[in-house]
Structures are given as C-alpha cells and as structure tokens.
C-alpha cells in the first residue's frame, strides 16, 4: 500500500507452512463444473455476497479447498455451507433465475450453432410439425441455463437472447454512450 519497503524489528519471526491445493483439483472442478482461481483454489460465486456458493447451483464449498485458512475459519465456513445446503434441501420447489436465455422461435431456423458452445448443455435441438412441414428449433432447459449469453453471441439470426441483455438493449446502451459526445 505504501509502495515502499518497510522495516519492522521483531524478536521472533514465525512463518506458517505453505498450503498448496490438491493436484487433481482441475479434474474435480470439471466434474462439478465449478471454477478455480489462478492459484488453483476453488472460486466462490461472490467474495462477499455468496461466499460459500458456487455459480453452479447446489454445490457449496468450505475449508482449504477455497483458500489457506485456520481451522476455526474452516469450521465457520463449514457451518455456512451446511446452512446454505439446508436452504435448498428444506424446500419443495425452488425459483429459477430470471436472467436466462429465451428462444425466439420465429427467428430460429434450427441451425444448431448455439448448441455446442453452451457450457451448461442447456440447449437441445427439437423438431415439430408446423403448418404441415417440419420446423426445427432449439429448446432451453430453464433449470440448466445460467444466462451466460454465449448462445446469443453465437447466433447469426437473433434467434436467442438473454432476458435483460437483448442485443437491442446492449446496442441502445452503446448508442447512448456515443451520442453523449
């Protein structure tokens, strides 16, 4: 913070042993679809607002998998993780996030470009009969979609968008920013 070296005269210098993450965390992260930070510790959904949650619903973390910490901190975090898990287990139904993708069936021609890039495998190609012919379109699983919008940026036909982040809405923001000059 001071941007300069400081010197502290101490009688005793105690260094704690290094804590390094497990070697196979990459595989574990991929298995549960949860991210790691640069140091290969698990990354929470939000440092302050969702400290034991992952972006993936229903997966929680505590302890040294998250970062080096003391035993008392690990226990406190374990309590939090258990409490968070209980909030889901105690419910019969859960509400889904509103900011997820939405398909515009009229624009979608079933080219399926969006299906492979989806990180959550939330999209599937379907066919149905429409006015006597086969109409291809995609279907979004509302429980799997997290609203990242990769599909929206991939779609060449404006056939899919993320609620609250339509291309038109983002364009309007860009234009407003440009007009101000």
């Amino acid at each position: 913070m001071l941007n300069m070296p400081i010197c502290i005269e101490a009688d005793l210098l105690v260094l704690s042993a290094a804590i390094i993450p497990n070697e196979d965390v990459d595989e574990l992260g991929r298995l549960f679809k949860v991210p790691l930070n640069q140091d290969k510790f698990f990354l929470e959904a939000h440092m302050k607002l969702r400290p034991v949650d992952f972006a993936t619903d229903g997966v929680f973390m505590c302890g040294l998998a998250h970062s080096p910490k003391s035993v008392s901190e690990s226990i406190a975090q374990a309590d939090a993780a258990a409490a968070r898990a209980a909030t889901i287990l105690s419910k019969d139904e859960i509400e889904l996030d509103a900011k997820i993708s939405e398909i515009i069936d009229a624009n979608c021609d079933g080219c399926a470009y969006c299906i492979d890039p989806c990180p959550y495998k939330a999209l599937t190609l379907i066919e149905y009969m429409y006015k006597g012919s086969i109409k291809k379109t995609v279907e979004r699983d509302a429980a799997l979609c997290k609203g990242c919008g990769v599909c929206m940026a991939t779609c060449p036909k404006k056939g899919i968008f993320v609620r609250g982040f339509k291309l038109e809405q983002i364009s309007a923001m860009v234009e407003a920013a440009l007009i101000g000059e």
């Binding site: 679809k33 991210p35 790691l36 930070n37 640069q38 990354l43 959904a45 939000h46 440092m47 972006a55 900011k99 890039p117 990180p119 959550y120 997290k146 609203g147 990242c148 919008g149 990769v150 929206m152 940026a153 991939t154 993320v162 982040f165 291309l167 983002i170 364009s171 923001m173 860009v174 234009e175 920013a177 440009l178 101000g180 000059e181």
Partner: protein
C-alpha cells in the same frame, strides 16, 4: 481536426463478475485513469456478439475493448474462451471495414485487479490516441 483536441471515445464491455468488479475496485481505490472509456456491463465476455463490436466502431466509437475474467476463472466456466475464439473473427471483420486491428482489444482483468484495470485503460487510451480518430467518426 486538431490533434490536441481529439479525445478518444472507447466502448468497454466488462463482464459482470470480474472486470466490472475490477473497474469498481479501481474506482473505490481512487486510482487515476483516463475518462475515455464508457463501460457497458454484460454478464459475460462470451455474450458480446461480434456485431456489437463492429456496430460501435462504425457508429462513432474510436475503439472497443472487451474485458473478461482470466482464462479458467470464468463464472460461466468457459465464456471467456468463447470470446477469445471470436477475437480472430472480429479482427477479420475489422479488416473488411478498413479499421486498424488495434482498435479492438480483448483483455482479462479479475475482480481483484483494480490497478491492472487502470493500467490497461491508460495504455489502451494512449494507443487509441496515437491511432487518431476512427475513419467512421463524423
């Protein structure tokens, strides 16, 4: 246009989870950086359609920067990888529109990297200033 009066206008798409928070941190840490960027919050760098970048550049922006989480840190697992894959396509489109590739940039800034955010903005603003105004600017 007199060059000393030229102030570049940069549109920055920042992902909600890392770069937008990084920009916030730069702000609350009171770091100084040029006021030339207009930040637009998107949920993920992978959400930015190449057309948005081209649209911004042809409608008067001097440059566009997309900021996302570092590779591997993406909140949506791999949205930033998708953004990186599109970078080449965007650069090809810029060429078709007769724009310098330097007018578009993709950068990774994490939520904890306020100073890096300020540094990237400083450096990019200077690069764009040296390039001069966009040929599409009226």
């Amino acid at each position: 246009m007199a060059n000393e009066e030229y102030e570049p206008l940069i549109i920055g798409f920042c992902c909600n989870w890392c770069s937008y928070a990084g920009a916030d941190l730069a702000g609350v840490s009171r770091l100084q950086y040029p006021p030339n960027m207009r930040i637009i919050r998107v949920m993920c760098s992978g959400m930015v359609h190449p057309n948005l970048v081209i649209d911004a550049l042809t409608k008067g922006a001097d440059a566009v920067i997309i900021c996302g989480c570092h590779i591997g840190d993406c909140h949506y697992l791999e949205g930033n990888l998708k953004a990186e894959n599109r970078k080449e396509a965007i650069e090809l489109m810029l060429e078709d529109f007769g724009l310098e590739p330097e007018r578009f940039r993709l950068e990774w800034v994490s939520a904890s990297e306020g100073p890096r955010f300020a540094e990237v903005m400083r450096e990019f603003t200077e690069t764009v200033r040296a390039l001069g105004p966009s040929p599409y600017k009226v």
